[in-house]
């Protein structure tokens, strides 16, 4: 949208532009991420120094707590429990939600019938779903993960449905004419068009799931970061809460930088890069 080099330069002086070399390996993202995190820590440290408050400990204190919790093994255990729940719920929610979303987006009739259900499930408070799940299926791991998935599925459906509605019909027509098999259609026609929607649903999905997992753990599990955070919340130990939170964020960040971004760069390399 930047029109900086539009042809509206008033002076008729000759325009010159040199070829720019594009060196975008892995070094650049890593360096930029490091700089970014450093800047964040600095900002945080400054802010914590300016408004000292028990509710806002400086980074070093959080780091100390983090090390302590890690040394005691608690951090590892609870983090692992939470990660496993997040991963399981994520897989269930993305698979079920994507399939439902794409189907609804393609079938106008079904969509207008099921839309009210979708609105209902979208707006059911996590508390309600979680409590009902625990009541019906017992205080089990399956109930916990199921409840989280049910909370997230409507969000995935809504996003993927928009994607399916925005599909370009010409590609589907080409596929029909050349009789691509169903698998080929999905793999080569459908999935690439839905990729940005999937990425959006996926990113905000993981975050939402993790937040609901926290509630699930608070309401009826005996392990996990949510359980710990709540424990520390009761004694108002914000440094410990942040330590657990940041440990999870660090893992998410590592996944993002080492796995998701390279994959995404690869999946979207066909897009014309803006000059």
């Amino acid at each position: 949208m930047t029109a900086e080099f539009g042809p509206d330069n008033a002076r008729p002086s000759p325009r010159r532009a040199r070829m720019v070399s594009r060196g975008s390996g892995v070094a650049l993202p890593a360096a930029s991420a490091a700089a970014s995190l450093l800047a964040l820590c600095l900002l945080w440290g400054l802010a914590a120094g300016m408004w000292p408050s028990r509710a806002f400990p400086p980074p070093l204190e959080v780091w100390r707590v983090l090390l302590k919790e890690a040394a005691s093994g608690d951090l590892g255990f609870h983090l692992a429990m939470t990660l496993w729940r997040v991963a399981a719920a994520y897989v269930v929610a993305m698979v079920v939600g994507s399939v439902l979303g794409v189907l609804l987006g393609m079938h106008r009739r079904a969509d207008s019938f099921f839309n009210p259900w979708l609105v209902l499930f979208l707006n059911l408070p996590a508390l309600v779903v979680i409590v009902l799940a625990y009541i019906w299926f017992g205080l089990t791991e399956a109930a916990a993960i199921g409840a989280v998935a049910v909370n997230k599925i409507p969000n995935v459906v809504v996003t993927m449905r928009e994607g399916a509605r925005a599909l370009e019909p010409r590609y589907a027509e080409m596929a029909t004419v050349y009789r691509l098999g169903p698998l080929d259609q999905i793999r080569h026609v459908l999935v690439p068009q839905l990729q940005p929607y999937f990425a959006a649903a996926s990113r905000s999905g993981i975050a939402l799931i993790w937040k609901i997992v926290l509630v699930v753990e608070l309401l009826g599990r005996s392990s996990g970061v949510g359980f710990q955070i709540y424990l520390y919340f009761q004694i108002f130990d914000v440094a410990a809460i942040l330590a657990y939170t940041l440990a999870f964020v660090a893992i998410m960040l590592a996944i993002e930088l080492l796995l998701v971004q390279p994959l995404e760069r690869h999946a979207t390399r066909w897009r014309r890069r803006s000059a």
């Binding site: 009541i135 205080l139 309401l219 009826g220 005996s222 709540y230 424990l231 919340f233 004694i235």
Partner: protein, 305 residues
């Protein structure tokens, strides 16, 4: 209340037990009689009142002395006046074969309030000392939200449940019996009498600046307690606030009356300090932070005279 009467903002759970007492104060105008005006601010959760207190939005909340001590040792100038000695208990069904702590081994136990809950620590401590049982490891422990655990106990999914006292009272009215209370455990571990688990919590600075108002509030509270102790009619009036009827209301009433603190403050403070040491042992740094002793001034000094 006269318009000039000092206002005291008290934060409570709308359906919590403290509200019964505050409702009695308001309804019988005990606050006006003592020259203050109590303003009740409702919250949906205990944590909400804690946050509100730390955010400086309230004058008084109800919380437990351990929390106050910990906050004090970290620099907050909170202090407390005893409110109730009622504590949680492990409840089992009347027909349950569980008769004592050793029977809990291998059973599914629901625990409200998390692994650092005071009652849970005390009962664990007792089990270890008297029976050599580590309940945390030898029982199948499930932590969870109090209402959910109550429901699960009723439906039979849990063999035993350690819950807050009013949940216990309601269970009692629905075919449950007390296996062991946290107060029993405290006594067994060395307390000389019931210690107020909960107290009205306020800032010392506020109390110093408004000594009359603070004292009047304590008096109004005492008057309300007296009325609730003596009048069954008052309880009938309170029934919609308590949200209980018949047998359930009676059990709640009786347990409430049992929980009214009757001992001099100094005695309570001494026992609390002792319990603190025990708890510091059981819960470790996680529970109490770096302070190995109860913070001096946790109990409001002005009440000792």
């Amino acid at each position: 209340a006269s318009p000039s009467a000092p206002k005291i903002r008290v934060g409570v759970l709308k359906f919590g037990t403290v509200n019964w007492e505050l409702d009695t104060i308001k309804h019988n105008k005990f606050d006006a009689a003592n020259g203050i005006e109590v303003e009740v601010v409702y919250f949906a959760g205990e944590d909400a009142t804690n946050v509100a207190m730390l955010a400086g939005d309230l004058d008084v909340i109800v919380s437990d002395w351990l929390w106050v001590s910990r906050q004090r040792s970290e620099g907050e100038d909170l202090t407390l006046a005893p409110y109730s000695t009622a504590v949680g208990a492990i409840m089992v069904k009347n027909v349950s074969p569980i008769r004592g702590i050793p029977d809990l081994v291998g059973k599914k136990i629901g625990v409200a309030g998390g692994s650092l809950d005071k009652s849970w620590l005390l009962i664990q401590g007792l089990a270890r000392r008297d029976h050599g049982i580590d309940l945390g490891k030898e029982g199948d422990v499930v932590f969870g939200a109090p209402p959910l655990l109550s429901e699960k106990a009723l439906s039979g999914e849990l063999d035993a449940v350690l819950n807050f006292w009013h949940f216990c009272a309601r269970l009692e009215a629905n075919g449950f019996r007390r296996l062991i209370g946290a107060d029993d455990a405290a006594k067994a571990l060395g307390a000389s009498g019931p210690v107020s688990a909960l107290g009205y919590v306020f800032r010392e600075k506020w109390a110093d600046e408004n000594p009359d108002a603070a004292m009047s509030f304590v008096k109004a509270s005492a008057q309300a307690k007296k009325l609730l102790d003596e009048s069954d009619a008052e309880w009938r009036r309170l029934a919609p606030v308590v949200r209980a009827e018949g047998g359930e209301l009676e059990v709640l009433r009786d347990r409430y009356r049992e929980g009214i603190p009757k001992r001099p403050l100094a005695e309570e403070e001494r026992d609390a300090a002792k319990l603190y040491e025990i708890l510091a042992e059981l819960g470790g740094e996680k529970l109490v932070g770096e302070a190995r002793q109860m913070a001096p001034g946790t109990f409001w000094a002005a009440l000792k005279t």
